[in-house]
Amino acid sequence: MFKTEKISETTIVIYTSKSLDNSNAHEMTAALSEAQEAGYRYIIIDMRELEFLSSAGVGSILGVLGRSREDGGDIILCNVRDRILHILGVLDLCDFLTIKQDESAAREFCLAKDV
């Protein structure tokens, strides 16, 4: 289970563990879907702990990102380490994901969008 923190009625943060791979990708999908079901339009995924990202981990985010955007929200990644950015870059995903430097920048982004 991933730790979560409610920021506002529309924004929640999910904190990843050290790896997001075949062992827990389904849990991430479930956590994201649950947050969407609960009405959070903006979901921040804080990756400060993340050291290993497999294709299953990428898929767990891509599989639900569309729904947040269809609902007028977004999934925002923050505190992403270089090696994780590198993997996202290999898939040409960096330009299509919302990635912020840190949690504070991610929160500001959500607040600005939510007014």
């Binding site: 290993f52 497999s54 299953a56 599989g63 090696r83 040409d92």
Partner: protein
């Protein structure tokens, strides 16, 4: 913790050497030596930084093993410990090698023309894959492969192994054979399994991020990652039973 399998045992060296930890380590070693093992593996995987206390502990363990007639081998030795052992001229006094991965695995350290190769056999279970990945990580560290390249190789290892597990129809106890061979400025990874034919080169690498997000894509991403992270990939079906995937990557 020690693993009792076919007369070999593994004991983890504690990072913090307080009195309790040292007593615990030697207490465990004593129990192990009473079993008259062929070999005792001393797991140094947590020792990124080795202190004189750790060296003393290893030396005392070596003395106890010698006294009991058991071979002792340091495994998962990281650079920090290796450097300290070399500086103190103690490196050659210990046997240092690769770890055993799981019951039934036979990792070997063999010489090639231009360096050292790593050979592993691991179970097609997630535990087997993760354990083998950890050994592969240690191998890359010892080879001095640069960080990003090493990370790419670890991702490739994980994706290929999990793809074999997913598509080959192997059971959790079937084995996957793996060899990593450095050759000049590249490294070659070879996976062999006896599952259903599955050609990872058959998939297209035309991954479209925009389309992937729109279509909520969750599958097929691994093959794209593999193909983009290596410089060469080849698949062969050998006879009726064997899949062989060979991947190469420049490490310069």
């Amino acid at each position: 913790m020690h693993i009792d399998t076919n007369r070999w045992y593994k004991i983890l060296v504690p990072v913090d050497l307080d009195e309790g930890a040292i007593e615990g380590f030697f207490g465990e070693l004593e129990v192990v030596l009473e079993e008259r093992p062929d070999e005792v593996l001393i797991d140094c995987s947590h020792l990124d930084h080795a202190t004189s206390g750790h060296i003393n502990l290893l030396w005392e363990a070596q003395t106890k093993c010698d006294g009991a007639g058991a071979a002792m081998r340091l495994v998962s030795v990281r650079y920090g410990l290796e450097r300290v052992l070399r500086v103190l001229d103690l490196y050659d006094l210990f046997t240092i090698g690769y770890d055993r991965v799981e019951v039934g695995t036979q990792p070997r350290q063999g010489s090639t023309e231009s360096g050292i190769s790593l050979e592993l056999e691991f179970k097609a279970s997630m535990a087997g894959i993760n354990d083998a990945l950890s050994r592969f990580h240690d191998f890359l560290v010892r080879l001095g492969v640069p960080g990003t390249t090493a990370f790419d190789l670890e991702i490739v290892f994980y994706e290929v192994a999990t793809n074999i597990r997913r598509h080959s129809g192997l059971s959790e106890t079937d084995l996957i054979a793996f060899t990593a061979t450095p050759e000049n400025d590249k490294i070659s990874l070879r996976f062999a399994d006896s599952g259903e034919p599955f050609d990872p080169t058959s998939a297209s690498i035309d991954f479209d991020p925009r389309k992937a997000i729109r279509s909520k894509q969750t599958n097929g991403i691994g093959l794209t990652m593999i193909q983009r992270l290596v410089d060469g990939i080849r698949y062969r079906r050998v006879g009726e039973r064997l899949n062989v995937v060979t991947l190469t990557k420049c490490v310069r």
